[in-house]
């Protein structure tokens, strides 16, 4: 099946689904939900086929497709995926059906909001996310990068909680500002990079760009990605957006969309501007480390569950950033693995928090207390999601965090040591949050809420089960994922011109480091 145009079909499929679901009249909400779920499952199945067809020892970029678009600018519909993009595509394909199922009742019992529109927006969002990871043409990438904002803007703005307008506008403006910086760089790159947008051809000609120009272009891309990721100090939109978005959409927002930032740095910043990447690396490392500590401290102090999870994400993105800019294969592989694991762990955490919030009607930690007495199973799931999020050994995030830290330690001991403090803080914010919500004496107000007596339903079990299983599986046996990631990361590090120091050749997974 290697000749099958996986990427273009994968990209277009959710768009068609979004149109189909969007056209279902709003009275038939159940039909819309079912179609949306079925559609996202088809995308998942196709992605699994693609995963199987991907050759680990094959070319760096596979499933290459290219169609003419704007010849006078040499912009084309070019799709190709390396290992990094492949795992991200897989993550999207897994998370979207889970989120659709988790959001099943999000727009029920409310005559104002239309369920088909909500699920159409989720599918439209999947379309833009797949497009952004599958694009191998810089112009096409930019188009998806910007268009991605629109479905999420309406999801937050129309279906979010309190302060949704403020959050939606802030989210949109932050991302747009970043995107416009990138636009300037894309134009500049087009002019100095041989008047083409084809990634591989630009890659060949970037050596001729003079140092100064290259640094400015790097900066344009980097600011856009740093806002998207988000790295400290560009992060302030995320707690608002994550706090206001419906829980399922927040899982997609933080679990996948923010990865576009780190993915963009790996795919575009490092290979296209290697010298500038090395030059800016110390600054990026400092920002990332500050982000780890600062966001973790803020997370400890949060009283709003969704904002708390958003802050934990910023801290995790700090780890990913450290791993990327350490420029070792271990740390790089760890970062990419972290992107996947964080998507699963934080996605799960957001979804479970969403289940609590849906029952209680409030997302404030202080409105809970001893909820585990009423909802023992759900509280257990929250506990598990929290442990995965703080990277407990045995869960997948542990491996990625460990890889990042040892990969960084070989080259930057100080940063690795400071970043390790972040692990302790992670334990603090997760455990304290779990304690305040589910442990201890029962908050009497909870008993008066009828929904709080209903423990996890079958639908919710189906939602959390795949994520829990994946987190455990990848916690014990990450080889299938690291095998795919490793060659792509090595190629990226070669582009940057960094080789691993000393006697490394160690990967925690017996992978293919050579």
């Amino acid at each position: 099946m290697s000749g099958f145009p996986f990427l273009s079909v994968l990209t277009v499929l959710p768009l068609v689904g979004a149109l189909v679901v969007g056209l279902i009249p709003r009275q038939k909400a159940e039909l819309a939900k079912t179609v949306a779920l079925a559609w996202s499952l088809v995308v998942l199945v196709l992605s699994i086929f693609m995963w199987v067809a991907f050759k680990i020892d094959g070319d760096r970029f596979q499933f290459h497709e290219s169609y003419q678009w704007i010849p006078s600018w040499d912009a084309r519909f070019t799709f190709a995926a390396d290992g990094i993009a492949l795992v991200m595509l897989m993550l999207i394909a897994v998370l979207t059906p889970v989120v659709i199922l988790a959001s099943w009742h999000d727009v029920d019992g409310d005559g104002k909001r239309s369920a088909p529109v909500y699920f159409a927006l989720l599918l439209a969002f999947e379309f833009t996310m797949i497009g952004v990871f599958a694009a191998a043409d810089i112009f096409l990438f930019y188009v998806f990068f910007e268009v991605m904002l629109i479905p999420m803007y309406f999801i937050i703005g129309s279906f979010g909680g309190a302060r949704r307008q403020y959050a939606a506008v802030k989210f949109f403006l932050y991302s747009l500002v970043g995107g416009l910086f990138m636009l300037a760089s894309v134009i500049g790159l087009w002019v100095v990079g041989g008047h083409t947008f084809d990634f591989t051809r630009v890659l060949q000609s970037v050596g001729e760009i003079d140092q100064n120009t290259s640094r400015w272009l790097f900066l344009g891309f980097f600011v856009a990605f740093a806002i998207k990721a988000p790295f400290f100090p560009f992060h302030t939109w995320l707690p608002d957006a994550g706090g206001a978005a419906p829980a399922g959409a927040a899982a997609l927002l933080v679990g996948v969309m923010d990865k576009v930032g780190t993915f963009g740095i790996l795919r575009y910043c490092l290979p296209l501007f290697p010298e500038a990447s090395r030059w800016f690396a110390p600054a990026a490392l400092v920002l990332a480390v500050i982000g780890i500590i600062y966001a973790a401290l803020l997370a400890v102090g949060q009283n709003d569950l969704k904002r708390l999870v958003s802050y934990t994400s910023i801290a995790h993105f700090g780890f990913i950033g450290v791993g990327i800019f350490a420029f070792t294969t271990q740390a790089g592989t760890g970062s990419v693995l972290y992107m996947v694991n964080h998507g699963l762990a934080t996605g799960l955490l957001f979804i479970v928090v969403g289940m609590f919030v849906a029952r209680r009607g409030s997302s404030l930690v202080s409105d809970f207390g001893g909820a585990g007495k009423l909802l023992p199973v759900l509280a257990g799931v929250l506990f598990f999601a929290g442990l995965a999020s703080l990277a407990l050994p045995g869960t997948a995030p542990f491996i990625s965090e460990f890889l990042v830290l040892i990969g960084t330690f070989t080259v930057h001991k100080a940063y690795a040591v400071i970043a390790t403090v972040g692990i302790i803080l992670a334990a603090a914010y997760v455990l304290w949050m779990v304690q305040r919500t589910t442990q201890g004496t029962l908050n009497p107000a909870l008993e008066e809420v009828p929904a709080m007596r209903k423990d996890i339903t079958l639908r919710e079990k189906v939602v959390v089960a795949p994520l829990i299983l994946l987190l455990l599986f990848l916690g014990f046996y990450p080889k299938p994922v690291t095998d795919v990631i490793n060659p792509a990361v090595q190629a990226t590090m070669q582009d940057v011109g960094k080789t691993d120091p000393g006697p490394t050749a160690v990967t925690a997974n017996g992978g293919v480091a050579r």
């Binding site: 006078s72 600018w73 188009v143 998806f144 703005g157 949704r164 403006l173 134009i187």
Partner: protein, 510 residues
């Protein structure tokens, strides 16, 4: 004494203009000879025939490359492309102008001279059918614009400037509602326009003094090989530029724009925002590229500062607006700045990308003003921003259309706003004007805010008591909106054909 020798005239090359002017004169006769009841239908039909015939003439002449009628008119790639653009945009504006179903008698008043607030005025506002003189006036204006972009000497350019400006001054005064505002707009536009024309004419005189000729080619030769004081050249160029910058609404010559855009009948505002912009930039391109290319190092920084000023002023003031038409006016000022960035690339790409931008922006802005004509209450159009709150709940289709157009203005990909901005910014970087692009990007960031505010109002705010209704558009407005939206989408997704067309057309004759 020698017999006066008539210049050779290529009627074919001139035919687009001749057709429009001919039909415009015919329209005046129709006004006199047709009974009042059937006038509107006849005039409207006649105007469409005129524009279509003229457009066909442009297509027939598409390969022409010549200077004719004694050097007064140059018919070349940019001329024909811009003429085609003016006609296409003019046809869509005409649909808005011709709409009569939303309001009794249409958007125009029958007698503009009636004292505002008098009994007669109230009567004519409520009942009488609108003036049908608007059609010949529109045709004259469009004809003048066609001549303006093809003028090959500065005097012809001045004549064309007056030919298309005078009907516009009149049209501005004809709004059915808010008569005082409309008259004020017309007077303001007329006075400031006259000053600008005077500047232009004085500049022409100085340039004549410098070069001893008024044809653009002669000026070019004189610039390359100056015989007289260059003070004349610089002063003349500055004054000619002021005249053109005024029409193009570039800061600091933009102050008329919000008042006129707000006061004029909305279909006329649409016509000005789309077609006048094409004409003004067409002439600016021709003057700068054909005549003054030799002193580019002198005017590029000055005009660059003007472009930056325009982009920033337009964007910043758009943020503070509370009236939809004024908001779009300031956005149009900012867009003029982006266009000037494209012009200042001063290379072939600059020419082609500016032409692309003009067409892309024209269709979007027509659709935007088209929607404004629909949102109305008992007193006519409800243009105050607060009145638009929650419109998405009441009429999702129109709110969705408007949102799409606003996203296009904000330059979001998959709309023509993005490809057009990309084209002009790309040309400017290519032409070594990276600093302009940086300011352009900053201005785009600022400008995104007001657009987003409107989107928030439309969708995320609760509808208030005073939220007006969206009228069911008549056939003509529906057609105009459809064309505008489809063009905005198509030029964003498949811009290649039009880009190729602008590239093929990007060659001036001198």
């Amino acid at each position: 004494m020698e017999a006066l020798k008539l210049p050779a005239i290529d009627y074919g090359a001139l035919s687009p203009m001749l057709i429009l002017f001919g039909f415009a004169c015919l329209g005046v006769l129709v006004e006199a000879l047709t009974p009042r009841r059937s006038r509107h239908a006849v005039q409207l039909g006649l105007s469409f025939v005129a524009i279509i015939a003229s457009f066909v003439a442009v297509i027939v002449e598409h390969n022409t490359q010549k200077i004719t009628i004694g050097g007064a008119v140059a018919v070349d790639g940019p001329t024909l492309f811009l003429q085609g653009a003016i006609l296409a945009l003019g046809a869509v504006s005409l649909m808005l102008i011709g709409e009569r179903s939303m309001e009794k008698g249409g958007a125009f008043v029958s007698q503009a001279a009636v004292t505002v607030g008098s009994q007669k005025d109230l009567r004519q506002a409520g009942e009488q059918p609108g003036a049908t003189e608007v059609y010949p006036l529109t045709l004259f204006a469009l004809g003048g614009m066609l001549l303006f972009v093809s003028a090959n000497d500065l005097l012809t350019m001045f004549v064309a400037l007056e030919v298309f400006s005078l009907p516009l001054y009149l049209l501005c005064a004809l709004a059915r509602r808010r008569r005082l505002l409309s008259q004020e707009a017309a007077l303001k536009y007329f006075l400031l326009g006259s000053y600008a024309s005077a500047f232009f004419l004085f500049g022409v005189a100085l340039i004549y003094g410098f070069s001893g000729g008024i044809s653009l080619g002669a000026v070019h030769d004189a610039v390359a090989n100056p015989q007289r004081s260059e003070v004349l050249l610089y002063a003349g160029l500055a004054m000619v530029a002021i005249g053109l910058l005024f029409k193009a609404a570039l800061a600091p010559f933009h102050v008329w724009t919000p008042d006129v855009y707000q006061g004029a009948p909305t279909p006329i505002t649409a016509l000005m925002a789309a077609c006048t912009k094409v004409a003004a930039f067409g002439a600016l391109l021709r003057v700068l590229y054909v005549s003054f290319e030799g002193v580019r190092w002198d005017f590029q920084p000055v005009l660059g500062v003007i472009a930056v000023l325009t982009m920033l002023v337009g964007a910043v003031l758009a943020v503070t607006q509370t009236d939809m038409k004024r908001l779009l006016a300031y956005s149009s000022v900012a867009n003029a700045g982006y266009l000037l960035v494209g012009v200042l690339a001063l290379n072939e790409q600059g020419l082609s990308s500016t032409m692309f931008y003009l067409v892309a922006y024209g269709f979007s802005v027509l659709a935007a003003f088209g929607i404004i004509t629909l949102v109305r209450d008992a007193d006519g159009e409800a243009t105050h921003l607060s009145r638009w709150a929650g419109l998405g709940r009441k009429s999702p289709l129109f709110a969705g259309t408007f949102t799409f157009i606003l996203l296009a203005f904000a330059g979001i990909p998959l709309t023509s706003g993005f490809t057009a901005k990309f084209a002009v910014f790309g040309a400017a970087v290519e032409g070594g004007q990276t600093w302009l692009v940086i300011f352009g990007v900053i201005s785009s960031m600022l400008l995104a805010f007001p657009y987003l505010r409107v989107v928030v109002l439309l969708w995320l705010s609760e509808p208030g008591e005073t939220t007006p209704t969206v009228s069911i558009p008549g056939f003509l407005t529906s057609a105009a909106l459809t064309i505008g939206v489809i063009a905005t989408f198509a030029l964003g997704v498949v811009p290649a054909p039009l880009i190729d067309l602008t590239r093929d057309a990007a060659q001036f004759v001198r």
